[in-house]
Symmetry: C2
Subunit: 258 residues, 2 copies
Amino acid sequence: MTRVRMILQYDGTGYEGWQRQLTGLGVQQVVEEEIERLTGEKTVVHASGRTDSGVHALAQVAHFDTASRIPPEKFAYALNAGLPRDIRVAYSDEAEGFHARFDVLKKHYRYRLQHSPHADPFTRNTALHVYGALDVEAMNEAARAILGQRDFAAFRASGIEPESTVRTIYESRWTDAGRLVTYDIAGSGFLYNMVRILAGTMAEIGMGRRGVSSMQKALASGLRSDAGPTAPAAGLVLTRVEYRNFDTKEFIPCQTYW
Amino acid sequence: MTRVRMILQYDGTGYEGWQRQLTGLGVQQVVEEEIERLTGEKTVVHASGRTDSGVHALAQVAHFDTASRIPPEKFAYALNAGLPRDIRVAYSDEAEGFHARFDVLKKHYRYRLQHSPHADPFTRNTALHVYGALDVEAMNEAARAILGQRDFAAFRASGIEPESTVRTIYESRWTDAGRLVTYDIAGSGFLYNMVRILAGTMAEIGMGRRGVSSMQKALASGLRSDAGPTAPAAGLVLTRVEYRNFDTKEFIPCQTYW
C-alpha cells in the first residue's frame, strides 16, 4: 500500500462541510468516490480536521492509502479530471508514515469582513458584510489578548465537551485593507466553532457593541454567554496547515485573490 | 420625473448578460422588476453598454427615470433590500440630463488568467485557467501594439457589422501577480467580443502558440481569422466607466479581492 498525501482546495458553499451529513454532501465523500472511480478501491480520506458546512479551504491536507499504480504525484491530475470544479487537488505526493490529523503542528485560519455600505456580490459566499464604523485598533487589542496558551472554554459551541479546552495561539491579527478587513489566526488546534466565535466577538468589539475588556472577561470566566455570536461560516477559510516536515505554504505560492 | 444614476455590481455567472435573452434572465430585467416592485412604475434601465452572458461588472453605470419620491441617493439601499445577492447597487444619485450610454468617455475592462498547474475553485467563474510557461513580456509587447486609434475589424465577432470598427485604446497592459495574470484595457469603446478576442489572442502569444507579430498582422489585415480565439466570458469584468463629470473609480475605493 502507498500512502498518498494531498493538498485540497474547496469552495465550501455547496457542501455540508468536510464530513458527510444526513442533510447533504460532504467534501470527504466526493473525494473518496472519485478515488474509488479511479482505482476501484474503497478508501477513507483523512483530513487535518473537519471544516463546517460552508467553510472553505485554500489548503486542507489529507491522506489515503492505495494499492493503485498511479504515481502519487499524478493523483492530483487524475482526480481533478473527475472532481467537481469547486474541489481541486492542488498537490499530491507519497508520504510514508504521515498522518494528516495526528501530525498537525499548526493550523491557520482566516476570517474576512467585507466592509462597505452595500454588500458585494463577489464576496457574498466568502466574507461577512459589515457596514458603519469599525474600530480595527480595538479589534487588534482584543486579538492580542488571546496570544499564548489559554483556556478557550468560552469560545466553543455549547453541547460539545472536549477533553481539554486549552489551546496555544501563535498568531492573532486583523488587517484593514479597506473594503476587506481580514483576521488571521494560527494555533495548535481549535475547538468546535472557536474561530467563528472569536471573529464574532471581535467584530462586535469593532462595531462598538461590546468593549475590548469583554475578551479578557470571557477568557477568565470560561462562559459561552460572555463571548459574542458565532460569525457565519461563509467568512471562514482554512488557509494553511503546518507539519514537522511539510508546510502547505510552500505549495500555494500566491493568494492575491483571497 | 427624476433621473436616477446607479453604479451596479454583478456576478454575471447566473445571467444571460445585461440584456434579456430568450434563453434566460438578463441583469437589466432583474433590476427593472425590482424598481417596479418598489415604485409601481414600469421603467427602462439604460446601462453604459451591454455585457455578455457570464461577464461580470465591478462598476456598471446605468440610469432610469422615476416619479417616485424615494430620494435618489436612497435607491441603492431600497433596491438592495430586494435584489438577489449576485446583483448590488453600490451607489445611486440624481443626475439630471445624464445618459449612461451616450455620455461615456472611457470604459475599462479586466481579463484574468489563473496561472497554475491546477485550476482554482475560487476563481472558477472569474478567471480562465492556464498552465505551463507563460511569456508575459511577449503578451505585453502585443498589448502595446494596440495603443492609440486603430481599426479593430479583426477583433470583432463575425456576423455583426458596426458602422465603424475604429476605436481608441488608452491603456493596454498585462500584470503578472503569479497565480493571477491580469489584463487591463481602457478604450473609447469596444466592438462586440473585442476584449475577449484580444485576450484570447494574447494568451496564445503568451503560451507560444503564435508570435507577437500576429497581433500587428491581424490589425493590418482586418481579418477575424488572423486573430486568436475568443477567450471565455467568465474571465472578463467591466471594472470602470468614465464620464466627463462622473467616474466610478471614486465610488469603488478598493478592489483588493479581484
